[in-house]
């Protein structure tokens, strides 16, 4: 089995599904001959032709809108938005149509579309290239929001997302694209959506996180282990709908909850997780919940971005404080 980076895993998932499902069509800016600015679609146009792997004119609303039209005709568009900060022009189409088409037509027309995009900061990119906007999308009923944190999950969750008969927003942590290589069987096996992945069993505190923050959290958990603290680390993976059951079960066991995300704290997905535990797991909590999140300001440019993004030190302190409470 070959060791691949996340970006390679994403590329392979595309190729697998395009080979096995002739209705899959790939769209986006610079995704053809250039293979995408991160190379996620490298080689696909050569392999599958210009009809099925299309460079589009430069307009995100157009990409989402045309994907909707194509989907209602039975195609399965997989569209790339070049960076998450550029999803805004597409939001009208995503929220007012893509998320609603099945519901508003009572199932007559549907939108099996995947909107893929790099997510988050940490790669010293220019302004507007490092946003984490998952909560904005998660708040919209009718969408699934998925975010892998390893090459294997990128492969399996992307396949599941393409196969899902409804729209999926697929967020790819840009910082993880080439960070690690992992053995990933290119066997077309999807991984389940709508569930958390338990990455580490633990008994003292539950830490829920996703995307690039998984790496920081696992690093924090390693260090904390040497201090005798046992962290249970859950990768949320599907950010909407949230697998609250798994989180609540874990909190029953640990009695403590820390949530880590890169997006701004205010009205982030961490709030939804915390709120649900405060509703359904309050009596299981032995300490206040803690959120470690991006600050409620604009994601700064490169020189300060690592002062913005939560890191292992902040996560460890939050866990320690929770344990001390």
């Amino acid at each position: 089995m070959a060791k691949v980076t996340m970006i390679e895993a994403i590329n392979r998932a595309h190729a697998w599904e395009m080979t096995h499902d002739p209705t899959v069509v790939v769209l986006g800016e610079d995704i053809g001959i250039n293979g995408g600015v991160f190379r996620a679609t490298a080689g696909l146009q050569e392999q599958f032709g210009k009809d099925r792997v299309q460079d589009t004119p430069l307009a995100e609303g157009m990409i989402a809108g045309m994907a909707i039209g194509m989907a209602t005709q039975g195609l399965k568009p997989v569209a790339e938005i070049q960076f998450m900060g550029f999803i805004y022009p597409a939001l009208d189409q995503i929220a007012n149509h893509m998320a609603r088409m099945r519901n508003r037509t009572r199932g007559r027309l549907t939108c099996p579309v995947v909107m893929r995009m790099p997510h988050g900061g940490g790669i010293h990119a220019p302004e507007h290239h490092s946003e984490s906007l998952e909560a904005m999308l998660a708040h919209h009923a009718g969408l699934r929001v998925v975010c892998p944190s390893s090459p294997a999950r990128a492969y399996g969750l992307l396949l599941a997302s393409i196969r899902d008969p409804d729209p999926v927003i697929f967020l790819e942590p840009a910082r993880l694209y080439r960070l690690v290589k992992q053995e990933v069987a290119d066997d077309g096996q999807a991984l389940p959506l709508d569930v958390c992945y338990r990455l580490r069993e633990g008994s003292d505190v539950t830490v829920v996180t996703w995307g690039a923050m998984v790496t920081e959290t696992l690093r924090a958990a390693d260090t904390l282990e040497s201090e005798g603290v046992s962290c249970e680390v859950l990768d949320l993976a599907t950010l909407s709908p949230i697998d609250h059951d798994t989180i609540l079960e874990s909190v029953v066991k640990t009695g403590r909850l820390v949530i880590v995300h890169e997006a701004p704290r205010n009205c982030g997905i961490g709030a939804e997780i915390a709120a649900t535990v405060a509703e359904h797991g309050l009596y299981d909590l032995n300490a206040p919940i803690r959120r470690v999140a991006g600050y409620d300001t604009i994601m700064p440019l490169a020189r300060l971005e690592y002062d913005y993004i939560p890191n292992a030190a902040r996560i460890m302190d939050a866990v320690r404080e929770t344990l001390a409470a």
Partner: protein, 374 residues
């Protein structure tokens, strides 16, 4: 300075407001069977529209956007389409939809506040109404892209209003259609008004058809009250699209004879004299004169048709009004093919509180309740 590109915009009219036929009119102008069929639908649509406004006024329908005056544009475009083409309407193209087989009771169901009205029994690939202005343009392009990728001999036909041409999505769609030579026809129904904003305030262009030049595609202006012209021009555009020769932008000139919707009061912002003048150009009258000149129409037939249309409309209204209120489950059961667990729990909650507060019969409390003019 040297000239590097030249363009012109043409205007098409065959049947003028007085019902006189221009020289060079197409065979359609004397195809009495087709003309009678269109006249029949235009008459039916007007009867439907009048009834729908009345239903709203008597609290039996929600806010409704009348198509009064648009009958030729709507019917003419639909008549130029093939059944397997896909229609993407805005919110008042009832004439097109009824021609394509969408049931009048279904239309009322939607405007009565019930999503089941988007579940057409025929024309099942046609889009439902589209309230967010201009967004439908991109669906039209996308549908055409799917047809092109699959090598199908079909096209999409998408409507938009004059006001809608100010939204970026309009231009994105025609630009895409041009750049990829998509089998798409776009029809701007220029009825002079976008709620209270007249077309002169919407844009500085002399015509809306010339916006096609920005997309590198053909644009043509047509008298939208002349069903022969609109059908003829649309047929040519549909044929072009189906031959794989690319998209066309059509501007149909007509006039919104009614208020913007039943929630609007146009007397606040436009002169009655303008409306009066527009009535002189409305589409049914001239087609009727033409049919009479062709000796295939008379007062008796007119009376019979009106009665028949009234009956059809009444039957549709009865069907509409007899539909029970949707169950609260309807809010949850169509969102996802694979619904998440939490949704089932919320469905239970909604059942528990169903009807606990407000009874929502057809159009209960509908209309001007709080909003005066959207």
């Amino acid at each position: 300075m040297k000239t590097v590109a030249e363009f012109e915009i043409k205007y098409c009219q065959f049947l003028d407001a007085a019902g006189s036929l221009a020289a060079g009119a197409p065979p359609l102008a004397s195809d009495t069977a087709e003309l009678l069929k269109m006249y029949r639908f235009m008459t039916l649509v007007r009867a439907f529209d009048t009834k729908a406004v009345n239903l709203q006024r008597t609290g039996k329908l929600g806010t409704y956007a009348s198509c009064l005056g648009h009958e030729a544009a709507h019917v003419g475009v639909a008549a130029a389409m093939h059944p397997e083409d896909v229609l993407i309407p805005v919110y008042r193209e009832f004439g097109s939809q009824i021609w394509r087989g969408v049931k009048m009771s279904t239309i009322l169901t939607f405007w009565g506040g019930d999503e089941r009205g988007c579940d057409y029994t025929t024309a099942r690939e046609d889009f439902p109404w589209c309230v967010p202005i201009a967004t439908q343009m991109l669906h039209g392009a996308g549908v055409a892209m799917a047809m092109k990728i699959r090598g199908q001999k079909r096209c999409s036909v998408t409507f938009i209003g004059d006001g809608g041409t100010s939204e970026g999505a309009f231009y994105e769609a025609i630009n895409l259609a041009g750049a990829r030579a998509l089998p798409a026809v776009f029809v701007i129904v220029n009825n002079d008004w976008a709620i209270s904003v007249p077309i002169e305030q919407q844009t500085a262009t002399k015509t809306l058809a010339q916006k096609a030049i920005a997309a590198g595609i053909p644009g043509v202006q047509v008298d939208g009250n002349d069903v022969i012209a609109i059908r003829h021009i649309t047929s040519e555009a549909v044929a072009r699209a189906r031959r794989g020769e690319g998209p066309t932008l059509i501007e149909a000139l007509t006039y919104r004879l009614g208020d913007h919707t039943t929630a609007d009061d146009a007397s606040r912002y436009r002169d009655q004299s303008e409306v009066k003048e527009a009535w002189g150009k409305e589409p049914l009258l001239r087609l009727r004169s033409h049919l009479m000149k062709l000796r295939v129409w008379d007062e008796a037939r007119e009376g019979a048709l009106k009665a028949e249309c009234a009956r059809e409309v009444e039957a549709a209204v009865d069907e509409y009004l007899s539909a029970p209120k949707p169950s609260t489950d309807e809010m949850f059961d169509h969102l996802f093919a694979n619904p998440p667990k939490g949704l089932a729990e919320q469905r239970e909650v909604a059942r528990r509180y169903a009807n606990g507060h407000h009874a929502a019969g057809h159009g209960a409390g509908h209309g001007r309740n709080g909003s005066d003019g959207h």
